[in-house]
């Protein structure tokens, strides 16, 4: 295990990616990504399917070694797994619905799931688990089997387990997919509240930016392995997006919603935007 000594806490840049490039064989997945996230910022990582969102996330998690460039957290270069500073909320649990595990047990794994040996119950551990269950408003179903819970409820548990390691950065991989609109809004509000009270930076991956408009401090718009980063007004405009899409796109603002459309609708490289073209 690598030793991560934290640098001074007034260090402003929490996550920094410099010239990140990921190439698989002939395919370039990420081209020259440069970005940084400050402590406490809420950042949306937005882009159509196949844009490289997951790859970027995996680079930050230390699951993929970039072909070129450096990624660092709190001034320390990311090499392999690092569990101290980053909390990871995977898209879903990959288990049978019959799994004999209560919500509480799943969350507790966020605290000591990496430790060897049989887990012994202790009061301090129970207290910590209760605290995060409370933070995500999941105490009601703490004793129920995980498999019986809805997608939104499971998502809350996954957020809770990620909070247990006291991360500085919370990474959420498409937490809104498979959720109905109401649960999606609840999850977003929850993440925003928790992040604000705990001063945690958030990087949330989604294919649609609209549900996040009111919470995002910054947006990373990723298309074809190229990223534009900045505030919403800086990034989501015709010139910037046309450049990374590689063809002319229009940005429409209607009823507090933003739609990105182009003439090449048949291609629908912007699948997410095509979704609510009619709405």
């Amino acid at each position: 295990m690598k030793n991560f000594t934290e640098t001074t806490s007034d260090d402003k840049q929490l996550l920094t990616l410099e010239n990140i490039q990921v190439i698989y064989g002939q395919r370039t997945i990420l081209k020259n990504i440069n970005l940084s996230i400050r402590s406490g910022e809420f950042v949306g990582l937005i882009g159509p399917n196949g844009a490289g969102k997951t790859t970027l996330l995996r680079v930050i998690l230390g699951l993929i070694k970039p072909t070129q460039g450096t990624a660092s957290i709190n001034g320390i270069r990311i090499q392999g797994a690092h569990r101290r500073l980053v909390g990871y909320v995977p898209q879903k649990i990959q288990l049978d619905p019959d799994i004999p595990l209560r919500a509480r047990d799943l969350v507790a794994l966020g605290l000591d799931g990496h430790r060897f040996g049989f887990p012994l119950p202790n009061r301090e551990k129970r207290h910590k688990v209760d605290e995060v269950l409370h933070a995500v408003d999941a105490l009601r179903y703490a004793e129920l089997p995980v498999g019986r819970l809805s997608g939104g409820e499971q998502q809350r548990l996954l957020i809770a387990q990620a909070l247990l390691s006291n991360p500085r950065l919370l990474l959420l991989d498409e937490p809104l997919s498979n959720l109905d609109l109401r649960s999606a809004h609840e999850v977003i509000q929850l993440v925003a509240d928790v992040a604000r009270t705990r001063k945690i930076a958030v990087l949330l991956v989604a294919h649609d930016m609209n549900p996040l408009l009111h919470v995002m401090d910054k947006i990373i718009y990723l298309v074809n392995g190229q990223a534009a980063i900045g505030t919403l007004d800086e990034v989501v405009q015709k010139e910037v997006l046309s450049k990374i899409y590689g063809y002319e796109v229009e940005v429409l603002r209607i009823h507090n919603r933003i739609l990105v459309v182009s003439e090449k609708e048949d291609e629908c490289g912007m699948e997410a935007q095509c979704d609510h073209k009619i709405s």
């Binding site: 295990m1 569990r83 990871y88 649990i93 990959q94 799931g113 887990p119």
Partner: protein
């Protein structure tokens, strides 16, 4: 009537027979380990792998017969080889299924060649029956203590792996980012699975060892919500099944053909099937 039944169940000589004593010890340790490892195998979706490992072992056991060494070593040796291969070759579940399927067919073919030699060139004509359907009463007493030690090693492995194994089953990426050494955990669990399945094969036979692995585990998973309780219930079901089967198999010597007992494995699979059907119909009705 009751005394007559009890007299049949606890037949004269049952507790005097050293064969029965050995069978009870061997059966118990095998049932306990299978029940515990089985819960994890079912959770991880490796029940089929467990079955494949037993078949790999059967080829090793056939080879052992040919060489005149104890079949336990054949079972374990070939099982480990198969387990390591399966762990290294398959990345996606489908890839693993296909690779396992093809290798498995080859291994069983090789086993048939070994058994052809064993049955035609030696006097051990019962070898195929012993390997595929088990022979708990015929196990060499000298092997009992070895089995106990190996089962303890297996259980120790499970105690050590408990949390990382669970976390990596829930989500491998999550486990990795938490610092779980995924490769090591999956290899060690595979080794535990091999040891469990192969020793169970010694008792119930290669073809039927799967039932001890997944039967009690599946029943326990259906009835419980907490892993700790699941493991305890699984062990309980496994032990009761094993003890009842051994006693009934001993008693069956009084049934035709008189003088030779029916195979223990027959009783094991029957009892598990009975348990499972009752619980299945009960729990399915309850949830609707």
């Amino acid at each position: 009537m009751i005394t007559k039944f009890l007299n049949f169940l606890l037949a004269p000589g049952l507790f005097q027979s050293p064969q029965v004593a050995h069978a009870l010890i061997l059966g118990s340790v095998v049932a306990i380990t299978s029940a515990i490892v089985g819960v994890f195998a079912v959770i991880r979706g490796q029940a089929f792998a467990g079955h494949a490992l037993a078949d790999f072992g059967a080829t090793g056991a056939s080879g052992a017969f040919l060489l005149g060494i104890n079949t336990l070593w054949g079972f374990i040796g070939m099982g480990l080889l198969g387990g390591l291969g399966m762990d290294m070759l398959g990345r996606t579940p489908r890839e693993r299924d296909v690779t396992t399927g093809i290798t498995l067919s080859f291994m069983l073919g090789l086993g048939s060649l070994f058994l052809y030699y064993v049955t035609t060139k030696t006097t051990a004509t019962g070898a195929p029956m012993t390997i595929f359907f088990g022979s708990i009463f015929l196990v060499n007493p000298s092997i009992v203590s070895i089995v106990i030690i190996l089962e303890l090693v297996t259980l120790l492995l499970l105690v050590i792996l408990y949390r990382p194994l669970l976390l990596s089953s829930i989500n491998p990426d999550l486990a990795y980012t938490r610092g779980v050494p995924l490769r090591t955990v999956s290899l060690l669990f595979m080794s535990a699975l091999v040891l469990t399945v192969e020793q169970s094969a010694l008792v119930t036979g290669a073809l039927l060892s799967t039932v001890l692995l997944i039967g009690p585990a599946a029943i326990a998973i259906r009835l419980t919500k907490r892993l700790g309780t699941t493991l305890l219930l699984s062990v309980f079901v496994g032990l009761v099944t094993m003890w009842l089967s051994i006693v009934l198999a001993y008693d069956s010597a009084q049934l035709p053909p008189v003088g030779r007992g029916w195979p223990v494995s027959f009783f094991v699979v029957s009892i598990i099937l009975l348990f499972y059907s009752v619980i299945y119909s009960f729990t399915t009705k309850g949830s609707k």
